[in-house]
Symmetry: C2
DNA sequence: CAGCTTATACGACGTACGTCGTACTTCGGA
DNA sequence: TCCGAAGTACGACGTACGTCGTATAAGCTG
């Protein structure tokens, strides 16, 4: 009985993913940091992301990403582990996430 | 003296373009329709876009796109002509716009 | 000049967003 | 068993967004 006080973790199905929802989800620096971090480390607990917001704010951003189909989360013990839905995203939006992330890395590098 | 009662048309410089602003600008169906239309027809007056919003709403969306660097506008007589800043976008975000638009077309096609 | 067209400016409205603090639940370790 | 850690739920707050109606200005055309 995992965390009954929390909402059930619902993840949208592959065919439900919407491009405009994805763009909106990615158009935020905190969420972009989450996604970038997940591209380096495959799976992470919520509290280990290098972001500077309150825990409740972080929860909000995870929900946005989850409902847009960007991440998948699972509970294990006291931790909630998060992964990128890379395969699903590449199936639904081929090459798009890589294109966005590469562009963002280049922008952060100041080019 | 073109339209002195209107704000001067300011377009961000190439190096000022921000990816997150771009993503936000594209994360709206009306604005996406504008961009798609501009990819087919090179240049268009404001009133000729196949969107179903009030004129003042359309003005708002043009401003968002212009300030994000997606479009360029110029006044000629009574008309304001709009073009995609394709070269600038491809220079700053190589391949990204095409990737987004292709994905969106595929989604609209129902695939 | 008068009237129509094109498009914006401005203000209003309801909603969504990003943020936080607080309370709470669950799990794990001392 | 108790307490801290992890993370969420909920409500609040200020701001931004998408929308519109109305008023306005400039250009075109008769």
């Amino acid at each position: 009985m995992p965390r009954s006080h929390r909402r059930v973790l619902t993840h949208p199905d592959l065919v439900e993913l919407d491009l405009l929802d994805l763009l909106h989800a990615l158009a935020d620096p905190t969420r972009m940091t989450i996604v970038r971090t997940l591209r380096s480390d495959v799976e992470r607990p919520c509290g280990t992301f290098p972001v500077d917001v309150a825990p409740s704010t972080l929860t909000h951003h995870f929900r946005v990403l989850r409902e847009a189909g960007v991440i998948r989360q699972r509970d294990e013990g006291n931790r909630r582990w998060t992964t990128l839905r890379l395969d699903d995203l590449n199936a639904r939006f081929p090459g798009l996430l890589d294109s966005v992330l590469e562009t963002y890395e280049r922008q952060l590098a100041g080019t």
